[in-house]
């Protein structure tokens, strides 16, 4: 019993790394831009395809695939605000925009999926693992690839939170999330911070896509289920709160993993959504509330 508990706990923590990489970016974007990025999963898919292109087509090392995914999705993310969101914002003026942004990013999601389908076809593509081998922990075994996902997630998220806490541009991101008008009075260029935040957020998803490509295979809609799950995670953590998203990622992943000890495994994926519904009914602000600022 104890061994099973440990085994599922370890698997849950490893899965939490991927969830965190994905959900923290989604939450950061919402916290700063007030935009629910439905297309987040497509940037995960783009990361996977870029890794495939680098490793399988160009025969570059696995690390180059991950780096290429990070840079490629970052650059793509830089274009989203000036090309899509800013023009809509200008047209709407001060009117409420949330639902329209949702539709806009849903359109972007469909556009990116269709583009990937047209460019690469709908086949499941295999990407060789960046690292091979299995770590035997006694109670369970974890592939080196999954441990790599956890390690990279830990490194990137530590870097992200250090950036937000100590770097002048990171402070500017937090300031914009808290009070955009006051941030402008400090000389902070809002469109620049919006673009930077979007790029950082989707680049995290892109890296996740590249690292998970050897485990999930790559296809145009590979990121969509993750987007839906990330909504549940961000609601649990507090919409727009990256720290909350980090905590909630591990809570959900561990809960999912441990759930198979008490419920049939086909119900496992419902855990996140059950938690989301309960959270919305009981504590809609989430565990930690909304605060990119902290």
């Amino acid at each position: 019993m104890l061994e099973s508990l440990l085994e599922f706990l370890i698997q849950g923590v490893v899965l939490g790394g991927l969830y965190a990489l994905f959900a923290v970016g989604l939450s950061l974007i919402f916290g700063v831009l007030d935009v629910i990025n439905v297309a987040h999963g497509e940037f995960f898919a783009v990361g996977g395809y870029l890794a495939f292109a680098a490793v399988v087509l160009l025969h570059l090392p696995g690390a180059a695939g991950v780096l290429g995914a990070a840079v490629g999705t970052f650059l793509l993310g830089l274009c989203v605000y000036p090309l899509l969101i800013a023009p809509l914002k200008r047209r709407l003026g001060g009117r409420p925009q949330g639902p329209l942004y949702l539709v806009l990013t849903l359109g972007l999601s469909t556009f990116l999926q269709s583009s990937l389908l047209a460019l690469a076809g709908g086949d499941y593509l295999r990407v060789p693992p960046q690292v091979s081998g299995i770590l035997d922990l006694g109670v369970t075994a974890v592939s080196h690839q999954r441990l790599l996902v956890l390690a990279v997630a830990a490194a990137l998220l530590t870097a992200l939170f250090a950036f937000l806490r100590f770097h002048p541009e990171g402070l500017a991101v937090r300031a914009v999330a808290l009070n955009p008008d006051a941030a402008q009075a400090m000389g902070i260029n809002l469109p620049r911070i919006f673009s930077l935040t979007l790029a950082l957020g989707v680049a995290l998803a892109g890296v996740g896509g590249a690292l998970m490509a050897p485990l999930f295979n790559v296809y145009p809609a590979v990121g969509f289920p993750l987007t839906i799950k990330a909504f549940a995670i961000t609601i649990l953590g507090g919409m727009g709160n990256p720290v909350g998203a980090l905590v909630a990622s591990f809570l959900i992943s561990i809960a999912e993993s441990l759930s198979v000890m008490v419920i049939p495994s086909q119900w496992q994926s419902l855990i996140a959504f059950a938690v989301m519904i309960v959270m919305l009914l009981v504590r809609p602000r989430g565990l930690l509330g909304r605060a990119v600022s902290r």
Binding site: A175, A182, Q184, A185, S293
Partner: protein, 242 residues
């Protein structure tokens, strides 16, 4: 320095400021007073770029700045203090000051923050506290100190005395006068008429989005009509001493 000429602005299609004009000369303190809803804060926000003017001219040192973003106007040497101070309440006092120096070099920022700490030792002692934990008066002082880190030439202030205890109002205005002596020009929207009349070189009265008076505080005090209409005084109560 700053000139607004025939400025119309508002929110969406609602025009609140209707052809208002004013000027702020180098090193001057200029006050804007008027009844609630006159468009004073709207005019200030328009001057700083938060609201695009529907019409009119806004010029800084003769250069048109209408339509520019607030961060661009700030980089031209204009500071802005929002009604409640505009602090980042959930960030520390120190981080607020660091953000105040967002546009200057690291060395200049460090020097300027050190100068703030020397002038207001309270902020050094409480640098690690959340800005929102300071009292209302302390928050207003911090907002002013933060705005000064980049050494602006002109400061736009929206009701700096709002919701403050009298001793803090005196402190804030004493600080503003001291800064003005060093050459800082100010455009101050104020509901506290006595406070602004005591320090301003020139006063504009705005009513229903239009200029209703433009002159020195002494001229304003001498005008029975303005006193009656905008300062809420009747002729008998006003007396000759005003």
């Amino acid at each position: 320095m700053l000139e607004l000429e025939g400025v119309r602005s508002g929110y969406g299609k609602l025009e609140i400021v209707q052809a208002a004009s004013l000027q702020v000369g180098d090193g001057a303190i200029v006050g804007i007073i008027g009844p609630n809803g006159a468009g004073k804060s709207t005019l200030l926000k328009t001057a700083f770029g938060y609201l695009p003017p529907f019409a009119g001219r806004i010029a800084l040192d003769g250069r048109e700045i209408a339509g520019r973003r607030p961060d661009e106007i700030m980089r031209l040497g204009v500071g802005y203090l929002a009604q409640a101070g505009g602090l980042f309440a959930e960030m520390t006092v120190h981080d607020n000051l660091v953000l105040g120096g967002y546009t200057v070099s690291r060395a200049d920022k460090r020097r300027a923050i050190e100068a703030v700490y020397t002038r207001f030792p309270l902020f050094r002692d409480r640098g690690g506290q959340l800005a929102g934990a300071l009292s209302g008066g302390e928050q207003r002082l911090l907002a002013i100190a933060r705005a000064l880190i980049v050494r602006p030439r002109l400061l736009l202030l929206d009701e700096p005395s709002a919701a403050l205890a009298p001793r803090f109002i005196d402190l804030i205005y004493a600080s503003l006068v001291a800064l003005n002596r060093d050459g800082l020009a100010m455009l101050i929207v104020e509901q506290n008429v006595e406070a602004i009349l005591a320090v301003a070189h020139r006063v504009f009265v705005l009513d229903l989005g239009r200029n209703a008076f433009d002159g020195t505080p002494a001229e304003l005090r001498a005008s029975d009509r303005i006193r009656r209409l905008y300062l809420g005084e009747d002729e008998a109560a006003a007396g000759p001493g005003l």
